[in-house]
Symmetry: C3
Amino acid sequence: MKLLHEDRLFPADDATRKVARQLYKQIKGLPLVSPHGHTQAAWFAKNGPFPDPATLFVQPDHYVYRMLYSQGISLDDLEIGAPVIKDPRKVWRIFAENYYLFRGTPTRLWLDYAFEELFGLHERLSAKNADHYYDTISEKLQTPEFLPRALYERFNLEVLATTDPPLDSLSDHKAIRDSGWKARILPTFRPDSVVDPDFDGFRANVVKLGELTGEDTESWAGYLRALEKTRARFKELGCTATDHGHPSARTADLSKEDAAKLYAAILKGDASAEQRELFRAQMLTEMAGMSVRDGLVMQIHPGAFRNHNRQVYQKYGRDTGADIPTPTDYVNALRPLLDRYGNEAGFTLILFTLDESAYSRELAPLAGHYPCLRLGPPWWFYDSPEGMRRFRETTTETAGFYNTVGFNDDTRAFLSIPARHDVARRMDCAYLAKLVTEHRLDEDEACEVAHDLAYNLVRRAYKL
Amino acid sequence: MKLLHEDRLFPADDATRKVARQLYKQIKGLPLVSPHGHTQAAWFAKNGPFPDPATLFVQPDHYVYRMLYSQGISLDDLEIGAPVIKDPRKVWRIFAENYYLFRGTPTRLWLDYAFEELFGLHERLSAKNADHYYDTISEKLQTPEFLPRALYERFNLEVLATTDPPLDSLSDHKAIRDSGWKARILPTFRPDSVVDPDFDGFRANVVKLGELTGEDTESWAGYLRALEKTRARFKELGCTATDHGHPSARTADLSKEDAAKLYAAILKGDASAEQRELFRAQMLTEMAGMSVRDGLVMQIHPGAFRNHNRQVYQKYGRDTGADIPTPTDYVNALRPLLDRYGNEAGFTLILFTLDESAYSRELAPLAGHYPCLRLGPPWWFYDSPEGMRRFRETTTETAGFYNTVGFNDDTRAFLSIPARHDVARRMDCAYLAKLVTEHRLDEDEACEVAHDLAYNLVRRAYKL
Amino acid sequence: MKLLHEDRLFPADDATRKVARQLYKQIKGLPLVSPHGHTQAAWFAKNGPFPDPATLFVQPDHYVYRMLYSQGISLDDLEIGAPVIKDPRKVWRIFAENYYLFRGTPTRLWLDYAFEELFGLHERLSAKNADHYYDTISEKLQTPEFLPRALYERFNLEVLATTDPPLDSLSDHKAIRDSGWKARILPTFRPDSVVDPDFDGFRANVVKLGELTGEDTESWAGYLRALEKTRARFKELGCTATDHGHPSARTADLSKEDAAKLYAAILKGDASAEQRELFRAQMLTEMAGMSVRDGLVMQIHPGAFRNHNRQVYQKYGRDTGADIPTPTDYVNALRPLLDRYGNEAGFTLILFTLDESAYSRELAPLAGHYPCLRLGPPWWFYDSPEGMRRFRETTTETAGFYNTVGFNDDTRAFLSIPARHDVARRMDCAYLAKLVTEHRLDEDEACEVAHDLAYNLVRRAYKL
């Protein structure tokens, strides 16, 4: 018995499957480029072993425990939010017993991949073999082959970007560089904590930003300079991109005076909800301007209603699986920014969405026109076979392949990285194979596109 | 010639079709569980014959006559709205002549099923054979095999829920129970007529509710008690669920004082449109609270713009085919209710939609997190092969299979029930077969899921 | 080597492909009926040769140069906006070099068709063969076989409708008629320039409309009469339809007095944005009323945010590829018009959309009920294989085939017309073939529907 079939995710009809196989064979070995994600530089700086199966697979992954929670399993029993899991075997057993809940989900796909490819487990996880799984994984995690750096190399990673707040010293990134290890682990500048007035601790963060940069962040000009200096500090450590996780894609282009007044109101702490949203909007345009000047690629990840479940948020904190997408406007929202910088040579703005109805209606038409715009790959709930298929079906005809940027694994789950890239590569080959068998694309071109989607476009878009 | 092919609705490629057949073979004989619909308890209480083909197939089914009307056929010629059809043969002939209009629609699928499986008709309905159809059906309807109870048994129904207003005496349900017939025909508590201020006769209904329950429905507390008592009365007759058909999914959680004031304004009759909407919103949360206490499963069917065609409404009344879906928000709308009851153990809230863009964006993420939430099957215009396929494709990857609740036929057309369940079972098998041939699910698991989708999940979700 | 495969766009599995081929074989030779598009009557009136490949394929087609622009190619280098291209060979070379950008797009499909079928080119366009292409096409364009009238006949066109403003003298249409040439080239009445207060030159246009018709367009009554007279003038030259390109589908039904007051405010030039939108809304209902009286079929093409890229608009003008779709409401928007005229016998209103989420939610339910409504084919960014497939999948089950109106090529690119119709016919056959192999439709019926979709429905809907 095998968990993974070599033809998985390829269309069932013989003709298309044959083409998909051919295409995949030629790209499956390409290095992985991971330009956006949430792994921790500390893992690679310290290079210590991952603790245990529950801490590795269950606790950090909201995809996993949100499903368990949705079926009535208590977050306390899963020790979510605990600094250290006290009874990891118990947590693992709960997970194993309920593994059937993940049928048909992408989580199942990458877990099976990790179990089989990394840990040599070939029988489907269940209550019955939970302990065998636990022991096998635990044991391997203590071996040198499973240390973070060894895995980075085994995964054939060429670049791995982390996501970092402006107040981070980036000491782990420095430590990696200073260690002489030849991997490319790069920071990404994610300033939400100092540009979103609704972020926990925003006011204190702004003060700290001033201290770290030696700028007077109580003034609008000083605040902007502090951000510019921090971007420069990130760039020195290899950063090529920024990322912005706002509730909406709204942008604004206020006069300098109005922006300064708005900033003062924000700092005073009595700004209205509309003013706070306007400030975030203005900051996206400021960030775009800085990108035009310093060359950092800009990413916007909008549209999540964060911490929707108030009780879960109060008890377990942020990022506990209760972030829910909302309808997201791009056409009106982005116009102020695009009016200002949309035709700038060398500026790249990568757009993501949690509202897939925007793909064919707004995002592909925008990216198929503006020189600065590129479409990020399917994100979050859409980082899945069907999501990837619909992404190609709804964007390619308008924006083509070359206004897209390859794959982002966007994960906290380091061990899922090869599996996620593998899914993306297979789904792109499946889509291309369909174009070939339907005679909408020649096979030699499909092969070139497959290489571009797997490797070239991401390097070009992120300037890697 | 045959109207139905044994492989209908299965994917065309050999490999997938073979798996679909295998899966379907194992579940096609499972009993039908119909937890939500609009058949009439009176049919089973009285057990008299259905009158004639036009009254059975054309007059009560807005899916049928809306299509005819859309092509310029007069509702008068179809005798829509007439208490008794005067010339059923004429109506039937119009329908037969225009049967080609239903090509590619689910209505055609279930009509052909009923014609062939129940009435032994094997030639496609047309102007040519309209009279032969009419005579054959008329004749059979007079036989004992076609009485409602005989059909219930022949259909292998295990449970059939009706939908009933709070002012209904449920005498038909009582009569069925008292008759000693062993079928499970259960009422569903649908309080729209006493909780929606825009419902025709709302004010009088509230008064009548007070009389029926002996409560003072002029006071907020008495009104709530009257609703609780009515729910209890429904429960005594086997009711396990409530249903709520609101224009939106909006909920509210007012203080007791504010709710009482709002109720007073509503009763006075001078509440604004916004106040009336707020009242409906508050009532959903009140109903959720009652469900937490009495265990009735809650269903919300939101998003229809009722009686869109004013002229048709004025002449022919409610439910005449001019209800049109609107964009429906869930994320913001449901938050007050979920804040209050979303994490309650034992509470079940089943969500339906007429806006399928919400499936992947809002509904699957919500149901994939909140323990109380389940996704109802594709509803109304989506109760169709493509609708069912898109439902699975857009929800499974985020919410899995186990946050869904099997099939609802939701029909007034009793004779369509086996056909509708058959379509749902076939489409689920087709979807599962695709997962199997694409190696995203093992065949033994697919088989288990097929059983769950056809039989187990609905019983569990509706506590049947 | 061939650019076009005879099975292109047909599903890959053998069974379905075989049926698709059979269906297509029977309809591929049917005459082309083009009831809506943007070719120029002057071409056929003058019947002079098309100048050169760049002027023919690149300059007039925003689908082509928007993609090039999105990848950083300058519009100046493409000589967009130039009255005459100075260096067409240079423009052609840029296009040829970047032809790979169109992989997977419908533009590629129809270009390959034109290259191979019309110009006998069989090798994929690239930098390498750019000059060979240029020379071959240039040479053929000078031959009698490539004059507009010869191409019209070669394309097997039966009707070709242009789109014309009310101030147009239609002299080219008259010239065609007077020439004795037996083609049916018909004008379409598109009054945006005199009914949309935001249209460039609106005020002057209204004055000119008065002059042309001898009516006092400074008064509401005179303005309406002037429009009626102009419609009559169009009808005399064979016009059977009107077309309306509004930012939204909003309609209104004001009293005569309120409408007259609103018109006065509009003419005065101090109307608010809301008033201007209300005026457009009112004008749609006025146009519907005129259609009820004069029998012209009405088309609404709503939902484009025009000239989104301000810099490009300022430099290169309207229609330069920066029109972006927006979410479009139909259910509320159309109600005033439908309340007034929705049940009128003989009135036809054809709806288009740039927001495909409206298909299953709003448009199919509306068209599946109202006798006047028909669904226009996939428009603009959706005029593509995937767009056509999704259109059928999301509308057929609710509205059937007979509430749709066949294909519109809607193009400025005359040479693309046969290719576009061919794509539509193939995709409809592919869809029908799937229904046949999944036993949802009998093959004889599929054949009849294929004829209807390719030929009969468009003639009926547009009264041709």
